[in-house]
Amino acid sequence: MPRWGMVIDIKRCIACWGCTIACKEEHFLPPKVFWNRVLIGETGKFPTSRKLIYPVLCNHCDDAACVEVCPTNATFQREDGIVMVDYNKCAGCRACIVSCPYQQRTYYDKNIKDAEYFPGQGKTEFEIIGEKLYPFQVGTVIKCNFCYERVDQGIENGLIPGIDDDASPACVVTCPVGARIFGDLEDPESTVSRLIMEKKGKQLRPEFGTDPAVYYID
């Protein structure tokens, strides 16, 4: 069984936010909800300061804190490592949000559901269609799902996630500089495994012991 993971080359990333927008579009995310972010920070002091650009998303951790604390088993991990939320089981206790060291989860409340991209002008057709295709439930927690629909559909059609665009997450496909690489972490021959080995891929905050499936190289 594969374990899907991602490698992000932070040297390549130009902070265009293409991934952020592609993700919003793919999942019809309402205003103020981001499953993909591009963090911009600084390190050091002038004249040796350095700009840091880190695209972040759910890390689909192998030892996910969110899965562990969920009292209803609404947050679960598939065999391929993708961490998902079953909206029909979520009681809205938000323990998963609090326990995530990466803060990649959002509580979907009535304010978010009612939010309009053009306030006071009613919802656009895009938003109305989105609500039908992605019927998030008020009072539950939502998060990045590694575009599992694309991955599953792609595999069904005989495609290979990470190689074929139709079987890869939207953020990977849309990245104009190829900074995101998706693939099977269990396969030592996959591009992601090779990049992690060759370029000494790092996980964000490994001290929490969550073993993220998203690696960064530079």
Binding site: P31, K32, P71, T72, G92, Y117
Partner: protein, 323 residues
Amino acid sequence: MKQKIIEFIKKISSPLKFIKTEKMGNKQNIIKSVKNIFSPSDSSFKPYDWMIKSTPQQEWIKEKGIFLWLAFFFSEIGAGLYFMSMFFQYRLGLILGWLITLVLGGSVHMLYLGNPKRFWRILTNISSSELARGMWVILVFAILGFFQIFTAKFNPFLNCMLGIICILIIMHGFATMNVIKALPSWNSTMVLPLSIISGIWVGSQIFQFMLSVSGSLASGFEIWSELFLLVYIGLIVFYLWGTFHSSEAAKKSINILLKGELAKGFYIGVIVLGIVVPLFFTLIMWGGNVNAGLIFFRMVFVFAGDLALRYLVMKSAVYQPLI
């Protein structure tokens, strides 16, 4: 032909006109729309500076999160009252403690949940979730407590069982917070001892007040109150000291409490209301001058102080920056 071209231009320009005049209205509406997407008033919604510095925990204290703070408080003081009443075989205290824990604590817990109708599902993941374990403990407490109150049985086995269950309920809120490694100030070793003593301390104050009102001898219990207060003060100091020295993010949390934006609340709420004033009343009663009025006022201040402490511990927790 000319007419057709004019019509065509009108047709293609009409949606633009519509957008300009009706959809957007004016410049202010455009700004409002952009603000709605990248709301600058709340940094949590900026996709670019999220978690690049220490980020405060909000879900369990902001907006509906307030209910969780109150729920933990009620469950714990109810269990504390039950615990003390059981030792003194004081049935009225048992009933009140049982009711506070289950009715007040339980209902406020429900108000917090996003989907209260699914609360029963919280019982399903006992293997790894502290919340699920807490729910089971409360369920067992409801059954055994009801049995004890009805039968007025105080045999050592039942007392021992319920004593352990009460301690577990007292710890429940902070234990749920304590397992969260992402928030080092909650993950501190001193959180659990502090929660146990604070639950017992507040519960014992209600118990002592009930004793004094019912005409029983509350002065005999005063020695316990003095002891609990001293231990409570000691554990607050240990919590601050131990947490401060545990990690960078935890140090940041304690700095927020002692020197930062929550400092006023800490000094007024925890130090003055929760420690100095109760200490003052305790010193007045030191020589045996124990009366219901003084006990009542001390209880009110202890309540306020403990609520403030719990609020501030929840509010001051911060996540480590990601980059």
